[in-house]
């Protein structure tokens, strides 16, 4: 997978992840081109678009388009189900995910994606495992917060 894009129906970018090196300019161009190509496609067409010698596998969930770009020879359906797998994990994490969740918690979406794909390859196909790892990360963050506050408490007290 060369890159992952989440675009809203209005063409707003909700998440981008690039596994192949694209410069900032190229990234903007790719997004422009693909929004034009994909958002205009009707509902009953196939989920694949051929683009610049590559293929983009996309799927629409409510107002969001999930797109992944692959090589010509890659297995399209496999990637289509990676998208769905990703959506199911998001859904489980946020509890019936909607676009707003992903807007305000876009960083969470990045964490989850990182547990799912590395180097553009699927790393974990178990939803349970991913959920467990993300939960562990969350608790680490929480723990650090508590610890910070307790240390500052201690310092504050010591200073008295």
């Amino acid at each position: 997978i060369h890159f992952v894009l989440l675009i809203s129906r209005q063409g707003k970018v909700r998440l981008t992840k690039w596994y192949s090196p694209y410069s900032q300019k190229e990234r903007a161009k790719v997004i422009r081109e693909l929004s034009g190509l994909i958002l205009t496609r009707g509902p009953k067409l196939c989920n694949f678009v051929e683009w610049r010698g590559l293929k983009v596998v996309y799927k629409r969930y409510a107002s969001l388009y999930f797109c992944m770009c692959i090589n010509q020879g890659d297995n399209e359906l496999e990637v289509l189900e990676i998208i769905h797998h990703f959506v199911e994990i998001l859904d489980r994490y946020f509890g019936s995910v909607c676009e707003l969740d992903l807007i305000f918690n876009f960083h969470k979406a990045y964490y989850i994606l990182d547990e799912l794909l590395i180097a553009g390859e699927l790393q974990e196909s178990s939803k349970k495992t991913v959920a467990r790892l993300i939960a562990a990360q969350d608790s680490l963050v929480e723990a650090a917060k508590e610890q910070a506050s307790s240390i500052s408490n201690m310092i504050a007290q010591a200073a008295k």
Binding site: Y22, N47, L80, K108, A119, Q137
Partner: protein
Amino acid sequence: MALSGMRGLSVFISDIRNCPNKEQERLRVDKELGNVRTRFKNEKGLTHYEKKKYVWKMLYIYMLGYDVDFGHMEAVSLISAPKYPEKQVGYIVTACLLNENHDFLRLAINAIRNDVIGRNETFQCLALTLVGNIGGREFAESLAPDVQKLLISSSCRPLVRKKAALCLLRLYRKNPDVVIVDGWSDRMAQLLDERDLGVLTSSMSLLVALVANNHNAYWICLPKCVKILERLSRNNDVPQEYTYYGIPSPWLQVKTMRALQYFPTIEDPNTRRSLFEVLQRILMGTDVVKNVNKNNASHAVLFEALALVMHLDAEKEMMSQCVALLGKFIAVREPNIRYLGLENMTRMLMVSDVQDIIKRHQAQIITSLKDPDISIRRRALDLLYGMCDVSNAKDIVEELLQYLSTADFTMREELSLKAAILAEKFAPDLSWYVDVILQLIDKAGDFVSDDIWFRVVQIVTNNEDLQPYAAVKAREYLDKPAIHETMVKVSAYILGEYSHLLAKRPGCNPQEIFSIIHEKLPTVSNSTIAILLSTYAKILMHTQPPDPQLQNQIWAIFHKYESCIDAEIQQRAVEYFTLSRKGAASVDIMAEMPKFPERQSALLKKAEDTEADTAEQSAIKLRAQQQTSNALVVTDQHPANGYPPVSQLGLVKVPSISTVDRNSEDQGVTQANGTLSVVDPQPLEPSVDVLGDLLGPLRIDGPPGAAAQSDHNLISGPEGATYVEETLALAPVGDQTNNVQPIGSIAERFQDLCLKDSGVLYEDPYIQIGIKAEWRAHHGLLLLFLGNKNTAPLVSVQALILPPSHLKIELSLVPETIPPRAQVQCPLEIINLGPSRDVAVLDFSYKFGTDVVNVKLRLPAVLNKFLQPISVSAEEFFPQWRSLSGPPLKLQDVVRGVRPMSLAEMANLFTIFPLTVSPGLDPNANNLVVSTTFYSERTRAMLCLVRIETDPADRTQLRMTVASGDPTLTFELKEFLKEQLVSIPTISQRPATAPPQVQPTTSPTALSDPGAMLAGLLH
């Protein structure tokens, strides 16, 4: 949720969402960026928490599409924060904002490595994820051993190991040499025994990459892959969480089958039997179900199984099962399955002999050509193109023609090209071919590239029987009220040559032919007018006895164009006028040779020799072109008969000039016969040079420039000799002691490619290597197209890049075998680090039968590819010019031995490079001021200014001043321009440095002395 702590971020996001329009949004973003920037400046006061918040804001803004050109450092510095929350943010944001080529990343290597080798498992995960996602070559060098250790360590938990596996995969892609150490294949095999399916999935991805590059080391993994597949397909011991809609990890199944496809065969009968049982089960046991996801997952597995069956070329029985399945698929309602059915049928055509079974589905495939979905239409077109043969060509081509009038604009060009190729390749008779092409031009003239009509002219010229038919057809089309300009060109050309064959038919006497063609003249462009003039001259010559009225009419036209501003037209008008006034003497001369018998026979033979090959090659080309669906650019204009390449426009000059040429000397005859003249640098086999062949008949007659030039060559032996020497000097690095001789001059192809972005880099009887390049700033993407021209595979294919120090080049994996008649693409990423004229070399080798071919080819990743034109106003130019005062930033040189050219030609030459010529900046009209931007990683975008002062009295010398902000750049650019202006001796100059199509009308010889040329020709 953890977000509660980051109020500022939520507030900012809400603000953005509440912006009623883009303006407001921009204002809000700018305010925030200003805020973040100030906060980052007084870094001391920032807590980690605040830093984290700002870094997230930056990422959000970046995602909205705004440029965020600061703060990267802060994001990177969070990586070395001691606590998890900050570190996590640092890693994630860095991986999103930067790409592998970013300088800041280098600064972080140490911090990242510390996390990788540290004891903290969560830190390890973060570090491995980042490296896996954006690690580049340097990461590979410094981290590969550590990552390997983690992957095979028994003390690491699966979550670390699966990340390590994919991280290693990335590093391997970036730099294969550092990852693969002795004994790694054993380790890899052990990894396949892994019980944890997460780790196994990641390891399998790694294996796929390894075997794709070199399967030989990994034979021991093969039986293990089959075992894994068995285990999954039987659903043995697969934990519930690893089944997806009831299917045991479809992804792992797909990957495992992918890995198996890289092994050429499976020898062990037991393994083979087990594998086939599994495949059989998949093929038979996959049903269409209601649940979309289950359906997709099971079909993902099924299609991969199909691919594996095709690869193993199993017993015919299984193959026909596959075709049957695919036949079912292309007729289902589900568009995905239909698409994949068509795609896989096309693939199947390439590997096995199932054409006849696939033909049964022809009607269904033609229906798909009208599918509402363009993706499906494209697949259908590809498949029809692939399955076309003599038996069904008529049907298919007619379908394509019919579809052409309704097809989307984006597909028409491809469509017409494919139709043209098929029509030629499988024409039951040639008149049908002519019909098809004329219909094509009629229906979609805008989408018919020049080569298509060049080709039809060539075929008509080569087939005497065809000529009257073609002339009749051309005449018929001219009666249509509005015809496309290309049609005017073809008809005018054909009627110019052959209308005398029709003279007895009604409406076809010379006067009538002339009138109907001349009607079109007011509406056509200059290039067509030039053709029309030739046609008139031809008509005049063929009219015996002369018709004074017609003669006066035509003379009047010639006279009118004698002062035409277009040099090409002017030249023709003058020449034709003078020629046709020669009176009886010239008529005699002209009447003697209407048909060029020797040339024709040579061509005929050539056409017979290569008919099949030509079509095949254009097909390969075509595939290459499909990438962008551009016109089939004539990528190589290699001379088929010893003439230097000439412009397409030049080709068109043919009819009249050739006559002249013939009359003057018999030299043309020898050359036409394929006898090579002294000056020819390399023995060319006209019959195999594809595009040369395509353009052959037109060129063979030679434009005036070439004619004059060959003249010149005959006279001046010594200069010819220089040419030979020079070409040899330019020949590829290293000696080529191969038995297999290249077709065409490698040096010339290289020179050509230095100025163009696509074309043929190398060709011999077995392989053709094409190149298509895209350049953006200091990045380049070169696609190598390796096309096997034969019916046997090319094996032991190896490609190595020997890059000079200023280029970073990464070649993706080159397959070891190129299947018969197949073409593989290998992308090559190039990064220009700094200015230099050194050239990268591709060391390419393969084996065909007993022939081992090894060539070293220079890659056209040369200095001027990293230039972009920029125009500079006087206000910008002068301060800049003055501020760059003197060496080393500004260098001046007097250049001698410049090949003479007019200022306009020189300006033209610069424009090709591409430099921008700014006229008027220099008050002296004999001087040129030129500007350009050079891109490299080190210099970034850098403005370069050049001033050329010429001496009108002595065109062979000039003074050149080059200035830029970088001393090396200034020097290299100066030397580069010098090379372009002087180095190549007169004869080979034109083709080598300035492809004529850009300045077709100003070829030096032709312009400088048409009078002398004519005199020479006419004695």
